[in-house]
Symmetry: C2
């Protein structure tokens, strides 16, 4: 019997995931793609079924001191829908499991499910099952989602090729900035419960943290324009980290330009007020749930004037050269920070 004890913190979250998945092989012909993308891909005749799952844990992923349960429910579905979007699929079914302690009332559960059901309606998803369990403490939400697309229409992290152009939707960093605001207001409130939270002037960033949207609109628009991205991922860990996933899986290098990174103006100003570098927030903040994708040169013209898609760089051949070109033309290596929970 082994007497070694290795702390999980020595691996980190990505390291732990890699460690767990070592030696996992696929046995069934219907398993077209297993671990390693935004969703697994399952054969369904002329179509493929996409399967993804996410778990949200109280005290780790959310703080009920400032997270309305309705928003939490909505977000927990939206982040799963975002994984299906990132595979170029249409979300169709979710199963929702919750574990909760007896400090939650039926009314609290209703608020949570109001949000879940609202998100299901927004994204045209059916709630088809789930599990309900007691928990010794805290709330845990685990959602699995099925999506679908025509076989061959699914987009992997691995398809980026030299000279492809890197695109990102919406703006980045605001969700992280929103989180900083909420954490500050919580501290203020704990220090003096008579203080009312001052969230209105930071509405955009706070909303991005509490009520993220999955970019299904972009998936539909790309289809309408006849564009199939060569690679895609949703920005959940942060732009840098998610670009590195594309680099690793596609075996190519990425080169992006700081001055092209889209940041909301209000969020920018708020970041500065909080003594945070807005570009660092955009690169490493995460939870923006925007789509990050690559397109072929021939599709550039079609997206050049899109109001909500920004071209931020391009793909080159060397997978070891993943860099950011700063405004001062310094070349800085991209590093994955992601989240450190352990």
């Amino acid at each position: 019997m082994s007497t070694t004890r290795t702390d999980i913190s020595t691996l980190g979250e990505f390291g732990l995931i890699d460690h767990i998945h070592q030696g996992v092989t696929l046995r069934n012909a219907t398993s077209l793609k297993g671990i390693g993308d935004d969703a697994a891909v399952i054969d369904a005749g002329e179509e493929v079924i996409l399967l993804s799952t996410d778990m949200l844990v109280e005290g780790i992923h959310f703080d009920l001191a400032y997270t309305p349960l309705q928003h939490l429910g909505y977000k927990s579905v939206a982040v799963n829908v975002s994984d299906i979007a990132a595979m170029n699929g249409k979300p169709e079914q979710v199963v929702v499991s919750i574990a909760l302690s007896n400090r939650f009332s039926v009314e609290a559960v209703d608020a949570l499910y109001d949000g879940i059901k609202a998100a299901c309606e927004s994204y045209g998803v059916d709630l088809v099952g789930g599990d309900t369990a007691a928990s010794p403490s805290g709330l845990i939400i685990s959602i699995s989602i099925l999506g679908r697309t025509k076989k061959g229409n699914e987009v992997y992290r691995s398809g980026a090729r030299e000279n492809d152009v890197i695109c990102v939707t919406g703006d980045l960093g605001a969700a992280y900035i929103g989180l900083q605001i909420l954490e500050r207001e919580k501290e203020v409130f704990l220090a003096d419960p008579n203080m009312q939270p001052d969230l209105e002037k930071h509405e955009y960033a706070v909303g991005r943290q509490l009520k993220p949207k999955a970019r299904m609109d972009i998936i539909h628009e790309l289809a309408d324009l006849g564009i199939k991205p060569t690679a895609m991922i949703d920005v959940s860990d942060g732009l840098a980290s998610d670009l590195l996933h594309i680099s690793k899986n596609s075996n190519v290098g990425v080169r992006i330009f700081e001055d092209k990174i889209p940041i909301d103006e209000d969020a920018f100003n708020t970041a500065v007020e909080f003594k945070l570098d807005p570009f660092t927030c955009a690169l490493n903040g995460g939870e923006d749930y925007e789509l990050l994708f690559t397109i072929r040169q021939q599709d550039v013209e079609k997206l050049k004037k899109h109001y909500d898609i920004q071209m931020i760089g391009y793909i080159h051949s060397d997978p070891k050269q993943n860099v950011l070109i700063t405004k001062n033309e310094n070349v800085v290596p991209l590093r994955a920070q992601g989240w450190v929970h352990f």
Copy 2:
């Protein structure tokens, strides 16, 4: 804003599930069956995909004082496979999410996944994804599973008809009896840590609790015999509760005979030793993960001599008359006890 606070305990687990699922409707044509069976049923051309999910919470569903992590991993997959078996399907893919606190080491995670991977191998299932999260305390395992069968071959809880014969596989009650033994040994150990647990003479019941098997063997045998059950469910909540699910969903009544209920001899003796009624354990214990199904009269002959399938009663037309006939020919109404966690 409502100021009412209703305790979840006023609803119970089944009540809470019913409450949550009120007003849920299906939007997508691909959602053939949503909430209310062992798995959701999703259209996949000539086949259907079956989707089920289960969450196991430390301190509620398992106690690590006496549950080896490897067995826990195996069980967490097996109980999901059992849901696919109960739909008459073949399991194919799982996604596994875990949340765990830093008291768990990498070696502990490895032990858990050794069990998960062993179960995947036993049942021919592919591990195709998952999520890993930190937890403020305790271990939570959430698994979703995909299964598959030809369209029309899936079996629902709702198909039982008058005069169908009720069958159950294996034996019942031992998993609950095993749990009582484990709980007793834990008390003994806590009172005097020098006491060594005395589990060997109760090996069968303890094994049924810690290492349940999903009855995929029966699914294959029924297919070989050309038998499609008219209704099916796996015995997770207890025979009585699961029979009532068939009654409610099929809108029929069930009539079973106490002396036909299969109970393992060793488990029977252990129950008596523990001053438990073995039949109550079989009726209400749950976690046996045997298959409970109904067959047409014309299929009775084919299963009459099956070594591991017992016919325990029959279906009649009145959904309000769900009864057990005792050995003394008393007629006792069946009641769902299930589990009370809240």
